[in-house]
Symmetry: C2
Subunit: 214 residues, 2 copies
Amino acid sequence: MDPVTDTRTPTDTSTAAPACEELGLREQKKRQTRLAMHRAALELVAEHGLSAVTAQMIAQRAGVSTRTFFNHWSTKESAILGVVGDEGPRAVASLREKLVVMTVRQALHAVMRDGIANVPVDPELRDLKKRVMAKEPSLQSMSTGNLQAMQAELVDVLTESLDGEHARDHAEIMVQVGFALTRSAFSIAMRRGIDPVRAFDQVVAVYLRDDIDL
Amino acid sequence: MDPVTDTRTPTDTSTAAPACEELGLREQKKRQTRLAMHRAALELVAEHGLSAVTAQMIAQRAGVSTRTFFNHWSTKESAILGVVGDEGPRAVASLREKLVVMTVRQALHAVMRDGIANVPVDPELRDLKKRVMAKEPSLQSMSTGNLQAMQAELVDVLTESLDGEHARDHAEIMVQVGFALTRSAFSIAMRRGIDPVRAFDQVVAVYLRDDIDL
DNA sequence: GTGCAATAGTGCAGTGAATGCAACAGTTGG
DNA sequence: CCAACTGTTGCATTCACTGCACTATTGCAC
C-alpha cells in the first residue's frame, strides 16, 4: 500500500492514465492521492454504510490529512462518487461546437452520449461503486444533482439555436428528456453490469421505437 | 400522529365537519410555528442569499429556538422549500390504485399530474418562493432530489404491470421521462408565473406534438 | 376544577462537515 | 543552487444537525 516502496515496474501506470503522455511527477502524485481517497471512500462506505463513514476516516485510510481531503473534494459525497467537477463546462463547450455542424437534436444526442461515455469508471472500482450506489439511494440523488447544475447552461445554449416564441420551453423539455434517458441508461447499465454507452443506445432505441410517453 | 383519529369528540359530533378544519389548539399552534419558520426562511434567503442564512437566523425570526427548528425540518433547505415529506408514499399508493382501472401510461400521467397539482404553495408565499427558487439553483436540485427518492418505488410498481423481458427497463424509462416532463413543467411555471398544472398540460402537449427526442 | 398522559418547546453538550489562513515541503525550471 | 509554484498540513472557526434531559402546554378523564 505504500506508494514510495512500491516495487512495481514503471510501465504499470495503466490504472491512472490510459494511453496518456508523460505527465509531470506532480500531476502524477495528485491523481494518485485522488484515486486513493476515492477508493478509500468507496471501501469504507461499502463496509460501514454512508452515515457511519466520516471524512476523517476516509482521509486516514487514504493516508492524507483531513484538510487535504477537502482540498480535493468539495463534499464527502463527491469523493465517494469520484466527481471531478468539470463535466459541466466541458459539456457546454462540446454542445456549442456540435451545434455548428449538426441539428439541435443530433447535437444534444451526441453530447449526452459523450457524457455517458466519459464517466470515469476505474474498472477495478466498478463493481464496488455499483454495490455502493445500489445500497445508498441518497448518493444517486447527489449524482443527478450534479447534472442539474449544468442543465441550466445547456438550456441557455440550446435556446439560442431554437426559434419561436417558446424556444426556451422547448430547450428545457429537450434537455430534461435527454437527461432522463441518460439517467435511465446509467441505471440500467449499473443494474445489468453492461457498458453504459451500449445501454444508452438501447435506451434511445427503445424510447424511439416504443414511443414512450405520457 | 393523525390528529383526526386521535382527537375523539364523543359528545360533539357536529363539529366533525370534513371540509373545514376544527383542529385542536395544539395542532393549530404547530402549523402556525411551521408556517412562521417557512416564511422566515424564504424571507431571509430572499434578503441575504442561501449561503448567508443560518438556521439560527431563521429560528430567531420565527420566534423559536434552534432546537425546535430542527424538530420540524430535517434540513435547513427543507424549511425553505416547505417540504412535508409524505409525497412519496402517497404517490405510490395512488399509482397502485390507478393501475387497476387505467393503462400504464394513463396511470403514470395521472400520478404526475396529481403530484404537480398537490405541491403545497401558500398563495401568500408563492411569488416569494418563486423568486427564491429562481435565485438559488441549488434549491431546485434539492427539490428534485426529493422526487428521486420515490422514483425507485414507482419503477417497482410499474414493473409489475408491464410484460416482457425488459419490463423493468421500460418502467425505468417511462418514470424518468415522466419526471423530466414534470420538472420541465415546474420550471416553466416558476419562470412564467403560471399555474403548474397548466404548464404540465402544455408541456405534455408540446412533447407529444413535436416528438421531442434524441 | 383537578390530576394525568401526551407532546411541543427548550437548553446544553457534542459530533462532524466544511472553510480560511499561515506555514511547510516537494517539484519544476532556470 | 536558487526561486517560483503548488500540494500538503495543522489550527481555529463556523455551522448543520443530533441526543438527552427538562419544562410548559394541551387534551382528556374523572
